[in-house]
């Protein structure tokens, strides 16, 4: 059973053809890692699924077409998004960032889950999000996405720019979230990908060039060939 099914997705931005017929599936209740070199179209794929960019082709969420829908309706139909660079509302407090995201009147359980996952957010509730560290902002961004009942979580480079200690913290949180979520994760940190992903998609030059299990990530020559990096941490 697939939560998300992307077929023949083409995207042009300012006359540049970015995605050339991207097709892949995201299995339900599994973490799927979307990998590839910088600039191959991973973030564009996520942002097109979110409705930020127009595209042609098909994006189905549990069999329902969502390509072409307005972003807020895509989210209401069950897609949550943790953007690259966090994009927390800097002038709002942590509490305000979270309450803005919580759409249900009864979010007590969701708040409890989020505060269990990130206890720091509870203690810093009154602090302006803009004054938080990068890692804390990432916690806010992930927490916002977890406050509603979602069909799938799209997470774009959650460890980008974080100190190694914070990478570990975020990785642990994502591992916990992954236990009961369907997730499409764009991530450069292969150690994290190996830890959480059960399914891997590799993109190159706006196309999907591999779909399958994560076992190849242990093969250095495959990793080097597909991702242009060594198989250690990156």
């Amino acid at each position: 059973m697939n939560a998300l099914s992307v077929k023949d997705l083409h995207v042009k931005i300012n006359e540049s053809h970015i995605l050339h017929g991207v097709s892949f599936e995201v299995p339900t209740n599994k973490v799927t890692a979307l990998l590839g070199r910088n600039g191959v179209g991973k973030s564009t794929t996520l942002r097109t699924i979110m409705g930020f960019y127009e595209g042609t082709g098909s994006v189905e969420l549990n069999g329902k077409q969502i390509l072409g829908m307005q972003t807020h309706k895509i989210v209401q139909s069950g897609v949550a998004f943790v953007p690259e660079d966090r994009e927390v509302f800097a002038s709002l407090t942590v509490k305000e960032n979270l309450s803005l995201a919580a759409r249900s009147k009864d979010s007590a359980d969701a708040y409890k889950f989020v505060y269990d996952l990130f206890p720091e957010l509870d203690t810093r509730a009154a602090q302006q999000a803009g004054s938080l560290s990068g890692g804390q902002q990432q916690m806010v961004a992930i927490a916002r996405a977890l406050l509603n009942k979602n069909e799938i979580l799209l997470v774009d480079e959650p460890t980008k720019g974080l100190a190694p200690k914070l990478v570990t913290e975020v990785a642990e949180a994502l591992t916990k979230v992954a236990e009961h979520s369907t997730m499409l994760l764009v991530e450069q940190n292969l150690a994290l990908v190996k830890r959480v992903a059960q399914h891997v998609i590799v993109m190159d030059q706006g196309r999907v060039v591999y779909q399958g299990g994560p076992e190849n990530l242990n093969d250095d020559s495959w990793v080097h060939q597909m991702l242009g990096v060594s198989g250690g941490h990156k």
């Binding site: 979110m50 994009e87 305000e96 309450s99 995201a101």
Partner: protein, 293 residues
């Protein structure tokens, strides 16, 4: 000292009028990125509807009648603003040049229609007799109407602050000023916030239109233009999207302009332009504005 207080308070009164025009402009630009040249027409609609209500309520306008005229004028302007937003602006988001052209067109049409209907000459706005009196403040005799301008602006600022701080729509507006796309990405239809802001901006401009008409000794379609220019200056100096910034800038401009005009007749506008240039050079994001990413 009396003169100093008189000029200071009348300057604050003038600033209050600027604030009523600028607060809506600032929020509309800050949240939606719409450079709204039709804002002056909201002011005119509010002024004329307020005038009509005041004349319908009888020849001897009392304070209740005037407040009612001001509120109905504000509501009419807010409704008109909402109509313009729904009919025209919603089709032009992120098309800034088209927005400018269309909103300029709206302001020209509204000005021409009102001018054709009422004429362009000043028509006396019925006011309570109390407006013609003066209030003693620290020995200075302050025209009573200035107190009404200041009180209205302060009330509006407080109402604005309370809405933005304590309501969900206020939270959405504040977040939307920072990052519209991310508000959408949280499953919130930010367009509804746009409509709310347009209505509120129109309401403030309409209330301002009534008060500007009193200050200008009458209602006329030609009044809106100069106040719109000052509204834009206030928004730029205060910081795009910052209502407290607009309040601060409006008061600053009102007071500086009054003092400059008192000491050298006609110098007021020049000093304001110098202030604008100085702010743009030293702090381009405005006094309380934030640098956009």
């Amino acid at each position: 000292m009396d003169t100093f207080i008189l000029i200071g308070i009348t300057g604050i009164g003038l600033g209050a009028l600027y604030f009523l025009v600028a607060s809506g402009l600032s929020l509309i630009y800050g949240l939606m990125g719409v450079l709204n040249f039709a804002h002056g027409s909201f002011l005119s609609v509010g002024a004329f509807v307020g005038y009509w209500v005041a004349t319908q309520l009888g020849p001897d306008t009392n304070m209740t009648d005037f407040i009612l005229a001001m509120i109905v004028g504000g509501l009419a302007a807010g409704g008109f603003a909402l109509l313009i937003e729904q009919l025209l602006i919603t089709r032009l988001y992120d098309r800034h040049i088209d927005q400018a052209l269309v909103t300029v067109g709206v302001s020209l049409v509204v000005g021409a229609v009102l001018g054709g209907w009422f004429g362009n000459d000043l028509i006396m706005f019925p006011t309570p007799l109390w407006f013609l009196t003066a209030v003693n403040v620290g020995g200075a005799m302050i025209p009573a109407d200035r107190i009404v301008y200041i009180a209205t602006a302060v009330l509006l600022l407080i109402a604005n602050w309370a809405l933005l701080k304590f309501t969900r729509i206020g939270l959405i507006i504040r977040a939307g000023v920072e990052n519209r796309n991310m508000v959408n990405a949280l499953g919130i239809n930010v367009r509804r916030a746009f409509s709310t802001v347009f209505f509120l901006g129109g309401f403030a401009a309409g209330v301002g239109g009534v008060l500007v008409s009193v200050y200008s000794n009458g209602v006329s379609p030609l009044i809106a233009g100069s106040y719109l220019i000052y509204g834009f200056i206030v928004v730029v100096i205060g910081g795009m999207g910052s209502v407290p910034g607009s309040f601060l800038a409006a008061m600053l401009i009102g007071v500086i302009r009054q003092f400059a005009n008192y000491y050298v007749t006609g110098l007021g506008d020049f000093v304001v332009v110098i202030l604008l240039a100085g702010v743009l050079l030293i702090r381009p994001q405005g006094l309380l504005g934030k640098v956009r990413a």
